[in-house]
């Protein structure tokens, strides 16, 4: 067999393994037939064995989505550049651990009163800003208040609207009072906007200085170009194994991947799915494929004909072949959706809900029941929603034909899609960022009176459960409520969820990581620089 045929076989094997079509045993068998040694084949199947972390080196990361017009203002964090940088030089009260649980960052512990309306956070007394000043309750309060109040321009304002008071109890205790109980409050504190900045004398947050209490301090840098950071020796947590960091803005996918191949960077935040199979061949590169809570949704207005009939909505849900969409649009790098906006990467995920699959016959009979045979609808989409959004809708339109549904794909302008199309057109494609908890996303986009209730869905039982679950501190009861809500959204709701996008990023194989990767952001929840290390 010649070289290129071997490569072709290896690519097919890797694809088969990805789709779970072959076992590890036959993978090894075929790999060796293709001339790969046993040790190399094992390496392809599992990631490199894990050694104890060690210090040293400069970790260079190529990141996508960085603009010259980005700023240090945490209320206006929107680009990946800002989010990755924020997790290095600033701290949050809590963090999502690699195993998906909630862990401490600046807060060492937190507790609530019985109805979850008053939360107390204890601040780590070893924490200090890069300027040397200790982090106290005053700084935390100023940072949280930056997102509150009439004059605040923060994008996280809606997250904290139910907070009525934030006060200090001594230097290292912060008490947060909410108008009605929120059991998720410590989870909300991981939101990327809620970074802690030093306080000014007048109680406002000093975000302009770029001072923070994170694992690395900024030496120099420019938005849209790149940043140099060095380790903050007094960091309050374990980790930060690298001596220094270089975060480079590499917006062009080709530049990013070439830089990884040539060793100009050690990790990149996003790789192009179309070429990931080619990149996989490089023995010096490890690709990570992590299921996330970032969903693609297709909301239908439940108060607008023909979507006001639940049978029509469910017929449209059944008329979609999600497997084909994941294979052809996401190149396998996605998790199948089930029409409720709750991902396996979020806590309380109900794993026993039957998967909705492609069933054009049942869709037809539902349409018959609704008296809507020969249904014809339009769906709005744009290339900027996500890469492949238009293709996805065209593919869906083809699939729906088998159910006798005519879908007209309307391509809208990229600019202003979220101001002119989303929430205005009765059926469109939307891309949602990952949210930490189900309560968070349900409150934002599914609560009957939410400003972003994108499907205009009104379900009394769902809203009742949402309120109950919000303040329920018993985890089992809560999980049960989220299970029921998922069923309601799946069978009555107005949102089709084709898939949850995976985070696909890569590192060079001399960069080591722990056993798990956090699913909140790319690069191990944006905390790779403080969690990963170089092999010796």
């Amino acid at each position: 067999m010649n070289y290129s045929k071997d490569q072709l076989l290896m690519d097919r094997l890797a694809n088969a393994a990805r789709e779970g079509r072959i076992s590890r045993r036959s993978f090894m068998h075929h790999s060796m037939a293709a001339g790969v040694t046993a040790s190399a084949a094992t390496g392809l199947w599992t990631s490199a064995a894990n050694a104890a972390p060690q210090r040293g080196g400069t970790f260079r990361v190529g990141m996508h989505d960085g603009n010259s017009s980005d700023t240090h203002d945490p209320g206006q964090y929107v680009s990946r550049q800002q989010i990755y940088l924020a997790h290095q030089y600033r701290s949050y009260l809590t963090q999502i651990e690699p195993d998906g649980s909630l862990g401490p960052d600046l807060a060492t512990s937190w507790s609530a009163n019985d109805d979850a309306s008053v939360w107390t956070f204890e601040i780590n007394q070893n924490a200090s800003f890069h300027s040397g000043k200790p982090v106290t309750a005053v700084d935390v309060i100023a940072s949280l208040n930056h997102h509150r109040g009439e004059k605040s321009t923060s994008a996280a304002k809606s997250l904290l609207t139910s907070v009525t008071d934030i006060s200090a109890d001594g230097d290292y205790t912060v008490v947060v009072t909410v108008e009605s109980g929120i059991a998720d409050l410590p989870w909300l504190m991981t939101d990327y906007h809620l970074a802690v900045c030093p306080a000014n004398d007048d109680g406002t947050a000093n975000w302009q200085s770029g001072d923070g209490s994170g694992p690395y301090k900024i030496d120099e840098g420019e938005f849209g170009v790149g940043w140099s950071l060095s380790r903050h020796d007094g960091w309050h947590l374990e980790g930060a194994y690298f001596d220094a960091l270089e975060l480079l803005v590499l917006n062009d996918p080709n530049a990013r991947q070439t830089a990884l191949v040539t060793g100009d960077v050690d990790a990149v935040s996003l790789i192009d799915l179309k070429t990931s199979a080619l990149l996989q061949r490089d023995p010096n590169i490890e690709i990570e494929n992590v299921p996330s809570a970032a969903a693609i949704t297709m909301p239908m207005f439940c108060d607008t004909a023909p979507f006001d009939d639940v049978n029509v909505r469910n017929a449209l849900k059944l008329a979609m072949d999600r497997d084909e969409i994941i294979e052809k649009i996401a190149f396998g790098a996605a998790t199948k959706g089930n029409d409720f906006h709750h991902s396996p990467a979020q806590p309380y995920w109900p794993d026993d809900i039957p998967q909705r699959d492609y069933d054009p016959d049942q869709a037809k009979s539902l349409l018959k029941k609704a008296g809507a045979e020969g249904l014809s609808v339009s769906i709005s989409t744009a290339d900027s929603v996500f890469s492949g959004a238009v293709d996805m809708c065209v593919l869906y339109a083809e699939q729906a034909k088998a159910a006798g549904i005519e879908i007209d794909v309307v391509r809208e302008p990229n600019d202003g899609y979220y101001s002119d199309v989303w929430l205005k057109k009765p059926f469109c494609a939307v891309s949602w960022g990952a949210r930490p908890t189900p309560d968070n996303i349900y409150t934002l986009a599914y609560k009957s009176d939410a400003a972003w209730n994108e499907s205009r869905w009104q379900n009394e039982r769902f809203n009742e459960l949402l309120l109950q679950a919000k303040s329920e501190l018993d985890n089992e009861l809560r999980a049960e409520m989220y299970r029921e809500m998922a069923m309601l959204a799946r069978d009555d709701g107005g949102t089709i969820i084709p898939m949850f996008n995976n985070f696909v990023y890569a590192r060079r194989s001399n960069v080591m990581r722990g056993d798990n990767l956090a699913a909140s952001w790319e690069l191990d929840g944006a905390r790779a620089p403080s969690r990963w290390w170089f092999a010796s």
């Binding site: 010259s68 017009s69 321009t153 530049a255 070439t258 600019d415 979220y418």
Partner: protein, 318 residues
């Protein structure tokens, strides 16, 4: 000489008028973009409440014409204002980027201009030979390929396959000149390939055109060697069109490098302009565009002055 100074003064005055008209066009083009700054800054996550607060803070509630006049008032005193998005001074924001772009353009020009003109003279000398044909095919191929494609090809061979140069041109402060030249070699080479063909072919055409003139015949008849005929007799009369093409290409090196900057991740002014347009950050867009426009105006002026200075008939009109 006085005529030339008068010409320069007239053209500079006209240039200012052009810049003024361009600034009006750019302002209203930015206004025409759908959505507004507040929306672009806060993104998908913005609520009406947020947007209102941010518009107030950015002063977007004033009518467009008032905002333009305010900007113009500053601009005539060389105060180009602050970025609406970040609040930083425009000069600070794009000053360094512009210097980077100038550096890359100068680097490419220092290689490309002598290379193209010498090559043009040689192919004129050896016209219709194999060398002439090969040089023409190669330069025409490189100018016909989009520059990002040329960049990718160079990266593939020089960075990925042979590992001679870095694939990305990230700069850091305190870099030595040698390091700087090494890191920016591939983008500079891409630009050289893009602009060489124009200049080389214009040099070749201008010289060949003159070779049919009687005074060249005379030079040949008196026994001057072919290279001397071209360099001493033909070239001085060919300068005017060559200078024009060189000036146009130099302007392109500054204004047309956006794609090259993206491919090589070079922190120049093109990337800043693209970001500013996507955020509708009008003062930054305005400053970048005016720099580009001024570049064109000045280089065209330089070309005309150069053409006059190299032509004694224009220098001493009757």
């Amino acid at each position: 000489m006085g005529d030339i100074l008068g010409l320069i003064a007239r053209r500079l005055g006209l240039g200012l008028v052009i810049l003024f008209v361009i600034s009006i066009i750019i302002f209203f083009m930015v206004e025409l973009l759908p959505g507004d700054i507040a929306q672009a800054v806060l993104g998908q996550g913005a609520t009406e409440d947020n947007l209102a607060a941010l518009r107030e803070q950015m002063g977007l509630n004033k009518p467009a014409i008032v905002r333009y006049l305010e900007w113009l008032g500053g601009a005539v005193t060389f105060d180009f204002g602050s970025s609406i998005v970040t609040g930083e001074r425009v000069t600070g924001l794009i000053g360094e980027r512009f210097m980077n772009t100038l550096f890359l353009a100068a680097y490419a020009a220092v290689i490309a201009v002598p290379f193209a003109i010498i090559l043009g003279v040689i192919v004129a000398l050896l016209r219709n030979s194999i060398f002439d044909r090969v040089a023409n095919v190669l330069t025409l191929t490189s100018i016909s390929s989009p520059e990002f494609f040329l960049g990718y090809i160079l990266i593939l061979f020089f960075a990925v396959k042979w590992g001679m140069f870095p694939a990305i041109s990230s700069l850091s402060q305190g870099m030595s000149l040698g390091d700087l030249l090494y890191r920016t070699f591939l983008p500079a080479l891409t630009l050289v390939l893009v602009v060489t063909a124009h200049m080389m072919r214009m040099t070749r055409a201008a010289i060949i055109n003159l070779l049919a003139s009687p005074y060249i015949e005379m030079a040949r008849l008196k026994g001057a060697p072919p290279w001397k005929v071209i360099v001493k007799h033909a070239l001085p009369n060919a300068w005017a069109p060559i200078i024009n093409v060189v000036a146009l290409n130099l302007a392109y090196l500054i204004t047309g490098v956006v794609l090259v900057e993206v491919v090589f991740v070079y922190p120049g002014i093109g990337q800043a302009l693209v970001d500013a347009v996507s955020k509708r950050d009008f003062p930054v867009v305005q400053a970048c565009c005016l720099i580009f426009a001024a570049t064109f105006i000045l280089l065209n002026l330089a070309a005309d002055v150069g053409a006059i200075l190299t032509n004694p008939r224009l220098r001493h009109p009757k």
